[in-house]
């Protein structure tokens, strides 16, 4: 069931001052009528986490997904690198249909970066190793090249001096920046952020958001689940509001935040903004 209402905005002009990405190209990610349900513990019933969700993500687009907890926004994000398998529907990322049987999911995940709420850095490896190991193990990069790449990224996230520390010795914000660097080291075509700042102390949130902003400005395609409305307003090309496993409303940030049409969106924003 294709949804003709999907409106893929051409990315031109969304990042002021940057050359527009190939705006006329096919979308980088296409999600078609994806449904997913989970069994509810102790009952025979199932919770419908995603209910025939469709959307498309253009190259270079920054999509922010907002919604109350349990609305399916994290599940949607996790289907995009197959950490959750879908019950039905179809997901295509950069030409790879990841809902097909026989698709090499590991190869796909290597090209889709994911940043988790709780970082999920390898806690038994140093900061540097966290960034080097996936490059060597998965991409088979020579160690010298992987090291150089890691050093460069560590400098970019301003924690080169912590390279030999272990994740548990870093603040939450530093860990999250390392987690972003680890994902970037794989040269992803798409970055997924699953409430990347929700578990952070308030004073460390800014650094992570700044890094995400600089990625967006650099033309990275991003899907971001967040409660940071300021970030959504400032950085998003498009905002999606989800509730009960469906996309209730979508549009550019000024539309969603200033003139939401759906009562459910308005209600949610009133709760979260005040």
């Amino acid at each position: 069931m294709a949804d003709p209402a999907i409106d893929v905005p051409t990315a031109s002009g969304t990042h002021a001052g940057l050359p527009s990405p190939q705006a006329s190209e096919a979308p980088l990610a296409v999600i078609e009528a994806v449904s997913k349900s989970f069994p509810i513990a102790g009952t025979q019933r199932r919770h419908q986490a995603l209910d025939r969700v469709s959307l498309a993500l253009a190259r270079g687009e920054v999509l922010v997904i907002i919604g109350p907890s349990g609305s399916g926004k994290s599940t949607l994000l996790r289907t995009m690198n197959a950490l959750e398998r879908v019950d039905s529907g179809r997901i295509t990322i950069d030409g790879t249909v990841l809902t097909d049987r026989g698709t090499d999911l590991n190869a796909l995940r290597a090209r889709v970066g994911m940043v988790f709420q709780h970082f999920n850095l390898f806690r038994h490896r140093s900061v540097l190793d966290n960034i080097v190991l996936p490059q060597c193990a998965v991409l088979k990069r020579p160690r010298a090249k992987a090291l150089a790449h890691a050093q460069e990224l560590l400098e970019r996230i301003h924690i080169a001096e912590l390279a030999q520390r272990y994740p548990s010795e870093l603040s939450g914000g530093q860990q999250q920046r390392v987690a972003i660097a680890r994902a970037l080291a794989m040269d992803p075509v798409l970055m997924l952020f699953d409430e990347a700042t929700s578990a952070l102390d308030p004073e460390t949130v800014g650094g992570v958001l700044d890094l995400m902003k600089s990625l967006a400005l650099g033309g990275m395609t991003m899907a971001v689940v967040t409660h940071e409305m300021g970030f959504a307003r400032e950085v998003a090309d498009r905002v999606i509001f989800m509730d009960a496993g469906r996309i209730v409303e979508e549009g550019p940030p000024h539309h969603i935040f200033e003139q939401p049409e759906e009562p459910r969106t308005r209600e949610f924003l009133e709760q979260i903004l005040w």
């Binding site: 988790f116 999920n120 806690r123 490896r125 680890r182």
Partner: protein, 233 residues
């Protein structure tokens, strides 16, 4: 002087058998080390098989583990020593030491496996998802994340099981393997001095145990660094 002690522990006679005892000690250490390494390798395999979602894999392994738990080690040793060469003719060429090691591994690997399984299962799901998200396949997740992290969680119980393994090697004297206890039995049969014979054997095991304690202290210190702190956000 201390000659009164000779009535209770005649070290002068023990000294004559020092060569036997030291060869026995070395044999015990040798058998233990080989059995330990093999048990850890096979135990890791059993733990992974036991964690499989396929009944065809985990059920036979679970049955094997229960069989080992339910039967005495000495019975298992006798089955291996007397019956195995009939069941598996190629083991006819093995000497009694290798048959003994086979029995010890058969017995110890499931215990090690159960300890390791708990360790592997205690690796947080987030660590596994982090590995998945960068594209690691199942084998790489195992090698780079689950095995190293799971193993560390299990070092104390593994050391305990190793101490049991070392003591269990004494049972191999019953299938004519020469080890520490055999040295004591040789001395006792020639001199009929049970105190000297077996107290010396006990002291040998005590010595190994003391070495184990030093080793385990060293291992825990090595693993108490920031790399292994379990603090989760």
């Amino acid at each position: 002087m201390t000659t009164w002690l000779l009535d209770y522990y005649n070290w002068r006679v023990v000294a004559l058998y020092l060569d036997e005892f030291s060869r026995g000690l070395m044999a015990t250490l040798n058998i233990s080390a080989i059995a330990l390494v093999l048990s850890l390798i096979i135990g890791t395999g059993l733990a992974l098989a036991r964690m499989s979602t396929r009944p065809l894999i985990w059920r036979p392994v679970a049955a094997y583990i229960q069989f080992i738990r339910a039967t005495p080690l000495l019975v298992q040793i006798y089955i291996v020593y007397y019956a195995l060469p009939y069941l598996l003719p190629f083991t006819l060429r093995w000497d009694e030491m290798w048959l003994g090691i086979f029995a010890l591994v058969l017995h110890t690997a499931p215990y090690m496996g159960e300890i390791l399984r708990v360790g592997f299962e205690s690796v947080p799901q987030g660590q596994v998802e982090g590995a998945k998200a960068v594209g690691m396949n199942a084998l790489q997740r195992l090698r780079y994340v689950i095995l190293p992290q799971g193993f560390v969680n299990t070092v104390p119980p593994l050391l305990g099981q190793t101490a049991i393994l070392i003591k269990d090697t004494s049972l191999l004297s019953l299938i004519t393997v020469f080890e520490l206890l055999s040295a004591g039995m040789i001395m006792n049969s020639q001199r009929i001095m049970p105190t000297e014979s077996f107290m010396t054997v006990a002291a040998g095991y005590l010595l190994i145990y003391a070495l184990m304690l030093v080793l385990s202290g060293w291992v825990s210190r090595r693993l108490s660094g920031p790399a292994w702190s379990v603090r989760q956000p």
